[in-house]
């Protein structure tokens, strides 16, 4: 029998097994029959049985997922400042602007400008 035909027959039977169908028609081809037995063995050998037995691992994984995701959300929320924090930042910035009034934008001199002109470059 051609490989492609065998593959299609195997797939059709496997779909029935995966769907939980119990009474499956007998298979004529020996190789396909062996592969279907292997498939049933693999399903029965469910590797997650170990995590079902060890409930703590499952809970640990879930707790880790939720904790990590909540931390991400918390840090995202921290980017959005509340009013108090905004005032604090604005206050700091206002102070900086105030200080910058005394700095000449032309030469960078920090001298006090009594008449509005820089004593060094007259800007």
């Amino acid at each position: 029998m051609a490989e492609k035909i065998k593959a299609d027959i195997y797939m059709a039977y496997l779909d029935q097994i995966l769907a939980g169908k119990e009474n499956i028609e007998p298979v004529d081809d020996v190789e396909i029959e062996k592969l279907l037995l292997l498939s049933k063995t693999m399903i029965a050998a469910d590797l997650s049985v170990n995590i079902k037995l060890s409930e703590s691992l499952s809970k640990e994984l879930l707790a880790k997922v939720i904790k990590k995701t909540n931390l991400c959300m918390l840090s995202r929320n921290n980017d959005e400042l509340n009013e108090e924090a905004l005032e604090h930042v604005a206050g700091g910035f206002a102070g900086q602007v105030g200080e910058q009034k005394d700095i000449c934008p032309c030469c960078g001199s920090r001298s006090t400008k009594s008449d509005g002109k820089c004593p060094f470059c007259s800007h």
């Binding site: 492609k4 779909d15 292997l38 050998a45 590797l47 997650s48 994984l61 995701t69």
Partner: protein, 189 residues
């Protein structure tokens, strides 16, 4: 495991966005399938635990972007799982300087003593045999057995035609059977 109907699943997904208990329910429903999928792809069970956790973290943070009309939820979830594993193997390949995507990841693989305690004899044989297959073969077997995705979805995920999926799966299972038999494992009762 109780199977959810399409409507129940849709409702659960919608609730899981804002409700931790609904997410826990979704998590418990999909955990065995995702865990098996990852373990078929990655042999070490410590890494498997870690990757499973990463997949659910991604699921939780991206759940609001899921669009039911575009893909089945399981296809969407398992595309996250595939990408997480691909990232893992990419990072491994960078350190080992070999492409693990196209070759079997561990040759002459032996289980760690702690794994031997964890798994029964059949599981040990299976994990050892899977390690001898290529990543593509393991991917297709894992998707077919554990993702619950249709053959069409599997073909789209892997990037091959639907008929090719059947042939590759058939060949991979044939190889797996030969490897298991060479290990002395009897699968015929």
């Amino acid at each position: 495991m109780t199977m959810l109907t399409q409507a129940e699943e849709t409702l659960l997904i919608a609730r899981a966005n804002d409700d931790d208990s609904a997410f826990a329910e979704l998590y418990n429903y999909y955990l065995p399938r995702v865990y098996n999928y990852v373990h078929y792809r990655v042999t070490d069970f410590h890494i498997c635990d870690d990757l499973t956790s990463q997949i659910f973290e991604k699921l939780f943070s991206r759940l609001k972007y899921y669009q039911a009309g575009k893909a089945a939820f399981s296809a969407w979830l398992f595309s996250i799982a595939r990408n997480t594993i691909a990232d893992y193997y990419r990072s491994q390949a960078r350190t080992r300087c070999t492409s693990l995507e196209i070759t079997a990841d561990i040759t002459n693989f032996e289980l760690d003593p702690s794994d031997i305690v964890t798994y029964n004899e059949t599981q040990q044989h299976l994990i050892k045999a899977l390690a001898s297959l290529t990543q593509r073969e393991r991917d297709i077997i894992a998707l077919k057995f554990w993702s619950g995705s249709s053959n069409k979805d599997i073909a789209i995920l892997v990037g091959i035609s639907e008929s090719n999926t059947a042939v590759i799966l058939f060949r991979a299972m044939r190889r797996l059977r030969i490897i298991l038999e060479s290990q002395g494992m009897s699968i015929y009762g």
